[in-house]
């Protein structure tokens, strides 16, 4: 399959406020994991992938009035899409541009901040509607004057991977000409306390696929891609193509992945089929690899089921950014496209010993090699699994 063209990207995460800084961090093993400084929380020593900008910093850079009602997720999304706009040679997005955005928590940051004040304080009531996750997406669309269809997806940690899949499908079927796809999620006390109660937060930097891994770090990010139909390209630079995708439910547990990685297995197979590729055609796997015991084992089992003894070079980039939940699929899609463009594989940080069950070892230092195809995995609570395949445009 030729695949759908990606003609623009924009990103903000704890390892960079634009593509150049992000690439520099990835190439130089600079992680963005630190103690929380912007988020006020009782878990002061729990490492997170935090973007060191307050909401007012972000609002100022984006020229928003000080009394705006943007949630942090909306601010991050606008920030990332601003870069996408600059990089894609538009002054304004054409009016028919659609937006599909994934989020797991939407405007929860504003809800938790003001929930108990809504009764008394008139000035915070502007945030009441912010708890609706669609509100964040609508705000973003309004900022850029997008006239196309605006859709919000919420399938936990695979939200933005599903947004990319849906966008690619709608372009491929001729329903859309141009669509911005991706996702945004911010750090909140809501999620930090929740993941803490699930006992899957590491108190150190996360170590995906390591035998002694002890949990994930939460992160925040926004990442967006511009997808365009081939007849709109006009010789534009193409960053890569989305040539395969698959989605399935693991049907095992509300939050845990199955022992044999059935959901992961199915979606990787489906994505390969869609792309008309065989397992040996994959140059690099950008794994979901959260750093939890359960995910990394289940994903490793799925990889060995598909690739046998020839698992391609793989890494989880969550050691850099933490787990950015609904945004993870989108920022890792961008890392995958950077890998294609630069013919290099970004390392899996903090890895020491392989897990005994599978013996798999991820790429641990920046590796220069030809990269033609990248498989990117995203698995979410509720059993929602998605795999995407990107390939060079040639």
């Amino acid at each position: 399959m030729k695949g759908v063209a990606v003609t623009g990207m924009g990103i903000i995460s704890s390892i960079g406020r634009n593509l150049d800084d992000t690439l520099f961090s990835l190439q130089n093993a600079k992680d963005g994991i630190s103690k929380p400084e912007i988020l006020i929380t009782r878990h002061k020593n729990t490492p997170v992938g935090e973007i060191k900008m307050t909401n007012s910093d972000l609002s100022e850079i984006l020229n928003l009035p000080p009394d705006n009602n943007y949630t942090r997720a909306a601010l991050l999304a606008v920030f990332a899409i601003n870069e996408l706009l600059r990089k894609s040679n538009f002054i304004h997005f054409p009016e028919d541009t659609a937006l599909i955005s994934g989020t797991s928590i939407g405007g929860m940051d504003k809800t938790e901040e003001h929930y108990f004040d809504f009764q008394e304080k008139k000035e915070v009531r502007k945030y009441i509607q912010a708890q609706h996750p669609g509100f964040t997406t609508e705000n973003v669309a309004a900022y850029f004057g997008l006239g196309g269809k605006v859709t919000t997806l919420s399938t936990a940690c695979s939200s933005s991977a599903n947004a990319i899949m849906m966008g690619a499908r709608l372009i491929a079927s001729g329903k859309l000409k141009r669509v911005i796809v991706g996702g945004s999620d911010c750090l909140t006390r809501f999620t930090l306390n929740g993941f803490h109660s699930l006992k899957i937060l590491s108190q150190t930097k996360n170590r995906p696929f390591d035998d002694d891994r002890d949990g994930l770090n939460l992160g925040e990010a926004a990442g967006y891609l511009l997808l365009e139909a081939d007849d709109c390209l006009n010789g534009k630079k193409i960053m890569g193509r989305i040539c395969g995708y698959g989605n399935a439910n693991d049907a095992y547990h509300q939050t845990a992945s199955s022992e044999n990685g059935e959901g992961a297995y199915r979606v990787i197979m489906a994505a390969l089929k869609k792309a008309d590729l065989s397992p040996s055609d994959i140059s690099y796997v950008n794994a979901h690899g959260t750093g939890t015991n359960n995910n990394d084992l289940s994903e490793s089992v799925a990889l060995t089921r598909i690739f046998g003894d020839n698992v391609p070079p793989f890494s989880s980039t969550k050691g850099f950014t933490g787990h950015t939940l609904g945004a993870a699929g989108a920022i890792e899609a961008i890392f995958s496209l950077l890998s294609l463009q630069n013919d290099e594989i970004y390392p899996n940080l903090n890895f020491q010993n392989h897990m005994l069950e599978t013996g798999l070892k991820p790429v641990q230092v920046l590796r220069k090699q030809k990269v033609d195809t990248v498989l990117s995995n995203s698995f979410g609570f509720g059993g929602n699994c998605t795999s995407l395949i990107f390939r060079k445009n040639d």
């Binding site: 797991s104 919420s154 936990a156 609570f381």
Partner: protein, 201 residues
């Protein structure tokens, strides 16, 4: 190019009433309270699935609606799930938030994602099919229609279970329908609205 599709069956749940294919199927005249309604409905359906009582109300609504729609068994394991609502999982978000300041509840936190409902249905019926959850301000028939059609057109599936399962301030609005290649009612926006609107104020 696009083939003719049908609405095979539908279920509506509102105001302590359940309608199956347009006919009143169950009514709870005594209990306006959602949790009692959901418990009584479970009992009347004679389902034995103790995990039901661990679910949040949103998941229970989607779960039990699906049980009624399919008579307790989804035979086609490739049935895709296309769901959506307006309020995400706001009710559970609130319950969880209330526990957060002291002892955050893991079992409530788990349900602070609307797509957990899809996981519950998939676990119950062992579906490893494609599933998606949309959030839109109000019921958007075109969104469901377009997405479902694209699944059929790409040969992904022979069956789609669509669900609008919304819950806000104990007020619930559930509309589930099965799309197939055969049936009595043509699948189009008008028919969807015809089924969805009448009992909706």
């Amino acid at each position: 190019m696009s083939e003719v599709l049908y609405i095979k069956n539908s279920v509506l749940i509102r105001d302590a009433k359940v309608y199956q294919n347009g006919r009143l199927y169950y009514e709870d005249t005594k209990s306006p309270d959602i949790s009692i309604f959901l418990k009584n409905l479970y009992k009347s359906e004679k389902i034995r699935y103790s995990k039901y009582f661990k679910m949040d109300d949103l998941s229970k609504l989607g779960f039990i609606g699906t049980e009624i729609l399919f008579g307790g068994n989804i035979e086609n394991k490739e049935t895709a799930l296309v769901f959506g609502n307006a309020a995400s999982c706001l009710e559970t978000d609130r319950y969880y938030s209330e526990t957060m300041e002291e002892f955050p509840s893991p079992s409530l936190f788990v349900y602070t994602l609307p797509n957990i409902m899809l996981g519950e249905i998939s676990i119950r019926h062992q579906l490893r099919s494609e599933n998606i959850f949309f959030i839109s301000e109000k019921f958007d028939s075109s969104l469901f229609l377009e997405y479902s059609k694209s699944l059929f057109n790409q040969g992904k599936t022979d069956n789609v279970l669509c669900g609008w399962v919304d819950l806000q301030n104990n007020d619930y609005d559930v509309f589930l329908w099965e799309i197939a290649r055969s049936g009595k009612t043509y699948l189009n926006e008008e028919e969807l609205k015809n089924i969805y609107l009448p009992t909706h104020e």
